[in-house]
């Protein structure tokens, strides 16, 4: 700010103190009052001019900057940005940039690079509510999604446009052989997610989550992108048909009623042990107390 103080060049050789100057505004003698008015007007003018110049300089700088720097970015990606990508960028810069970096390159100790993860990873992470992350911990918990489906599409478009990667599948994701799906699930997934996708513990607070609330696309994109501790099951490991078979199996088993009665979590002997003690033995102890009281 090199603007001069408008008051500083007011003549100070007038001699009269400020208080007297006010008194001298009286129309007793015309010339000093007129001079003072003229001085005040020129002071105003200078002030306005200075502010306008500053504004003009700022606007010019801003325009130049906005005209030049994004031009370089679009030159890199080789195409102009679609509106969805632009909207996605805006969302990204608002919610993701802190941990994933301004160019999706990731930030050490905060978040991984998103270059090449593809829209499949974005869909899984954002649709299950894992991203945006609330805090850094052993594993991102799933929670209600923060973004709407439309916003997720925009984010997917943005990430896909900047690095590519696995894309979302299309068509019926349950179009696969049920039995084969079961076999593949037990072979590839059950060791962490349990026989029926009830989930299981991993080390140090990490875990394989339950598939209870997962939809078809989430299961599919999880296999494609390998979130967190899960390995990536690329299309050369599990073909799209096999992935669809697994999705079909998981969703069929989940929807299937328990023919034996209450499912008690479908978790096997731990729940059964709790039931036999808390229900079975407790009921019988009550029974023999009752018989004892009849003595």
């Amino acid at each position: 700010m090199s603007t001069t103080n408008p008051q500083s060049d007011a003549p100070s050789d007038e001699g009269a103190p400020r208080g007297l100057r006010r008194w001298s505004r009286r129309p007793a003698d015309g010339s000093p009052a007129a001079a003072a008015r003229a001085r005040r007007r020129s002071k105003h003018r200078r002030r306005v001019a200075n502010v306008a110049g500053l504004m003009a300089a700022l606007v010019l700088t801003g325009t130049l900057y906005s005209a030049l720097s994004p031009a370089q970015a679009t030159e890199e990606s080789g195409a102009t940005e679609s509106s969805a990508e632009a909207a996605g960028r805006e969302l990204y810069e608002r919610s993701c940039i802190t941990c994933h970096g301004e160019n999706l390159e990731g930030v050490p100790t905060r978040g991984p690079s998103l270059i090449g993860v593809g829209e499949a990873a974005v869909y899984f992470q954002v649709h299950t509510g894992r991203m945006p992350l609330v805090r850094q911990e052993a594993q991102a918990p799933d929670k209600p999604a923060v973004f709407s489906d439309e916003e997720i599409d925009q984010l997917m478009a943005y990430v896909q446009a900047n690095g590519g990667g696995p894309t979302l599948p299309s068509g019926d994701l349950r179009e696969g052989d049920l039995t084969e799906g079961g076999e593949l699930f037990r072979l590839n997934c059950a060791s962490c997610h349990n026989f029926v996708g009830e989930g299981g513990a991993l080390s140090s607070g990490k875990r394989a989550p339950s598939l209870e609330d997962a939809n078809d696309l989430e299961i599919y994109t999880a296999m494609l992108s390998g979130p967190e501790n899960m390995p990536v099951f690329g299309d050369n490991q599990l073909t799209p048909e096999e992935k669809r078979a697994i999705v079909n199996y998981v969703q069929t088993i989940k929807a299937q009623a328990d023919p034996g009665g209450a499912g008690i979590g479908r978790i096997g002997p731990v729940a059964e042990g709790v039931v036999i003690w808390v229900v079975g033995v407790a009921a019988l102890l009550f029974g023999i107390f009752w018989m004892g009281s009849k003595a």
């Binding site: 349990n194 140090s204 479908r266 002997p269 229900v279 009849k294």
Partner: protein
């Protein structure tokens, strides 16, 4: 028969005549009379062993039904049955027939579930029965033999449980079998040979299910039946123990005769046990093998656990550090050896030998027919609680991955809680139990010496407040009760000595009118209702305040 029909006491009814015919040939009237007149003491805790017996009966019945349909073969088949998610899958005939029982046999799934729940209950009731025997000192001379038979039955029930769990050849049971195979291999020196003998070769082979089947349906049940019979015969011969109480001595048994009172009670309990098992079998799904899938050694699932009673061994394996001992000459004692063979070996040996150990330490070799209250033997009670704590920590650790997942606790934290808890908790529980026992003993003595707290506060002429105590019996010149502790429960509330009116009868809901009881009590001069009309005989400081008499002048 006209001549005998006129003799006195000769039966005239058709049933009586038939009974006479039978007795003429078999001569059973005498022994039968003695048996039916046998007296059983009455206490709810004496029914715990019966729960085990009746759940075994349920096991025999439901298990027999299952054998009609189960095919104990490891022949490979392709499933073409009712359950769609497995149709076309390769599996063993054993697993296929289990699916067949579950989905196609009428009542098959119910029977399977009934059988499995009854099995869990069988072991649970044996364990509860065992703790009752332990904590009341019922194992003492002359009943050491029955204690040993009981421990053998517990071990055999584990064997039954394990073979039954493993036979369906599903992914869960196969995982268990794989672990057992590893445990067998971990036996030093002979492990490999034993494994080859048991599995007829390497794991898994084609024999093991058939072998387990014979063990499960013939060998072990026969031994269990024989031991149960022996257990009961010895019980009848040695007579049942009883808690000390009025009229109960080391030389008598106070209770109900076998027929009709005890038989009615036992029959009722059988149906209650059957009912609980059936309710669980019909309402709560257990071991849904169709969800687990056929066994394939390449597959394993998270949350693979044994049934609850073996879970302590899974827990010990999870807690034990991975310390392999590598000996020269390419010999290894794997870490698995210690938690799965040495530990249960020590535990069951200690359990079996406990009566002898206690006899040795206390030098008490006398015969005992009266039970002890747990509080009166604080060392034994505390040792028992210590053992229970040890077992429970191991059992919880056996399911630590499920607990970790469901309650969002780090699995590593669960493991360390188990490791530290296993070492630290039993001594803490020992000390706590010991103090609780002493506290309860002290309170019993206090009531005997000073009487029951009545809740009546008196103010003495000089302003001091005392609580009036009701002595349980005659008092000496200091106002102290002269009753000795007899090892029996001491009343702790005025209601228990008729201080108030007696309790209204009825377990679930009252079956009599309170007003009638009030009147009855007033008539019989019992309780507070009656006390209104009479002078409180225990008034005044000396006799009922539990304090020495002050000279009055």
């Amino acid at each position: 028969m006209a001549r005998t029909a006129t003799a006195p006491g000769v039966p005239t009814t058709p049933l009586g005549k038939a009974a006479l015919e039978v007795d003429d040939r078999l001569i059973v009237a005498g022994p039968l009379r003695r048996t039916l007149n046998k007296v059983f003491p009455d206490h709810w805790s004496f029914l715990l062993g019966e729960i085990a017996l009746y759940s075994f009966v349920v096991l025999l019945l439901s298990g027999t039904y299952l054998t009609f349909f189960f095919d104990a073969s490891m022949r490979e088949v392709v499933y073409e049955g009712t359950y769609a998610p497995l149709r076309g899958a390769e599996m063993s005939a054993a697993y296929e027939s289990t699916l067949y029982i579950s989905f196609d046999v009428r009542g098959g799934l119910f029977m399977r579930q009934l059988h499995h729940w009854a099995a869990l209950l069988f072991v649970a009731s044996i364990v509860v029965h065992l703790t009752r025997i332990f904590f009341t000192g019922a194992f003492r001379r002359p009943r050491e033999t029955n204690w040993l038979i009981g421990v053998a039955l517990l071990v055999l029930s584990f064997a039954m449980g394990f073979t039954g769990y493993s036979m369906p050849d599903d992914l869960l049971s196969g995982t268990g079998l794989r672990i057992v195979s590893a445990i067998i291999l971990a036996i030093p020196v002979v492990g490999t040979w034993v494994h080859w003998a048991v599995f007829n070769g390497d794991y898994v082979g084609e024999f093991i299910v058939g072998r387990m089947y014979i063990v499960h349906v013939l060998i072990v049940p026969a031994i269990i039946l024989a031991l149960i019979a022996l257990h009961l015969l010895i019980l009848v011969k040695q007579k049942h123990t009883q808690f000390p109480g009025p009229g109960r001595t080391e030389h008598n048994v106070v209770g109900n005769r076998l027929f009709p009172a005890f038989a009615g009670k036992a029959g009722g309990l059988f149906f209650i046990v059957f009912g609980v098992c059936a309710a669980l079998g019909g309402l709560v799904q257990i071991n849904p093998v169709w969800l687990w899938g056929p066994y394939n050694p390449a597959q394993v699932s998270a949350a693979s656990q044994p049934d609850w009673y073996v879970m302590f061994l899974d827990g010990s394996t999870r807690l034990f550090p991975a310390w392999d001992i590598n000996l020269p000459g390419n010999y290894t004692i794997p870490a698995l050896f210690w938690p799965t063979l040495v530990l249960p070996g020590i535990l069951f040996t200690l359990l079996a030998l406990y009566p002898m150990i206690e006899r040795k330490l206390t030098r008490d070799t006398a015969s005992h027919h009266l039970l002890q209250r747990p509080r009166d033997v604080p060392v034994r009670t505390s040792l028992g609680m210590m053992a229970v704590t040890f077992y429970v920590v191991l059992m919880i650790s056996g399911g630590n991955d499920v607990i970790s997942e469901k309650f969002d606790i780090s699995l590593n934290a669960m493991t360390w809680v188990g490791r530290i808890g296993l070492v630290i908790l039993p001594p803490i529980v020992y000390v706590l139990t010991y103090r609780i026992c002493l506290g309860l003993q002290k309170h019993d003595r206090e009531v005997l010496e000073h009487g029951l707290e009545t809740g009546v506060i008196r103010r003495l002429p000089h302003g001091e407040f005392i609580e009036v105590h009701q002595p349980l019996g005659p008092v000496d010149e200091h106002g102290h009760g002269e009753l000795a502790y007899g090892g029996a429960p001491v009343p702790k509330r005025m209601n228990q000595v008729g201080g108030a009116r007696r309790a209204i009868r009825g377990f679930f809901k009252p079956i009599e009118e309170p007003a009638q009881v009030e009147l009855e009590q007033r008539r019989d001069e019992h309780g507070l209702a009656a006390a209104e009309s009479r002078e409180l005989t225990t008034s005044g400081r000396p006799s009922d305040g539990g304090r020495p008499q002050e000279p009055r002048d």
